[in-house]
Symmetry: C2
Amino acid sequence: MTEAEKTSRRKQCILNAVSEALEEYDYRHLTVEDIAARAGVGKSTIYRWWKHKSDLVLDAFKEQTAPVFELDFQQSLAFNFKQQLLKLSQALNHPVGRALLVVMAEHREAAGEFFKQYLLPRREQMRKLIQVAIERHEIIAEYPFELMLDTLYGPIHYQIIFFNRIPDQTYIEHLVSLVMQPILVQNSP
Amino acid sequence: MTEAEKTSRRKQCILNAVSEALEEYDYRHLTVEDIAARAGVGKSTIYRWWKHKSDLVLDAFKEQTAPVFELDFQQSLAFNFKQQLLKLSQALNHPVGRALLVVMAEHREAAGEFFKQYLLPRREQMRKLIQVAIERHEIIAEYPFELMLDTLYGPIHYQIIFFNRIPDQTYIEHLVSLVMQPILVQNSP
């Protein structure tokens, strides 16, 4: 194993410990001590890579969701929206996702930076899929698509944070239908 | 002053102290000790009415925003939406609003309960205004209005929490236009 592989393994092990700990208790009670003990490393190892427990949660969420949010270009835009929102809803209901929302609220500036990095590549992929959907004549070509994405993703967070409700498949299907109704080609003039 | 008035005054004074403290430091550093000192009361007085500092933040937000979110039935639905969203955006950017988002994320169950009580009367008012707008022929009569409200309020929270961006008037006007476009009477078939 190269040095880089060893580092990667250890980081992975630490992030797994974060997830494991959060399954047992809330973010408030999460300590770097406990993560270190679970991962079998010293606290200084953790502090070499992460400044604060909030950074660990951001990375644990990233690690856990990286493969989850892949788009399927063979499927329609509507299908992809539904899948993405359902996965998002599930991810935010997972203990790491719950902790993530606390971190986002507590460390807005840091979280804003993180999400710019995390969300920009996803938005880029989404823009490509929208382009493909236009070329496949699924949707109209001219529309404020960026703003439309907010009206899809926003309500998921809103339902979870303000109503403590995890949007289910039915809610998500209604939402996607409502938001996409003006752009579907068969409905356009 | 009656006993009830005295109690009300003291509560008000304590909630003002919460707001004042949050202007100086983050929710994480908020303590019941400091609030008691600022309000000139004993800690036991605070604990008589509130179990946890998070409950104080919920009530401080309620107190601060109660008069802010009144609807204006003389104005159009679109006008009211814009006003509401702008005020919401400002309220969540205020120190008490920032703390509120932390509390919501940390205490989802309690916050869910609180918001059911807090939001239900507002939704009720909003439903009335929608009914009035239908009668005034501003909007069509049949539409999933509840879901539509999520696509208006959701993006405000989403922009703030995930992008650390406070939606401004331009963003809000675009959002309201986009979401209302399918229901405006002049655009209906």
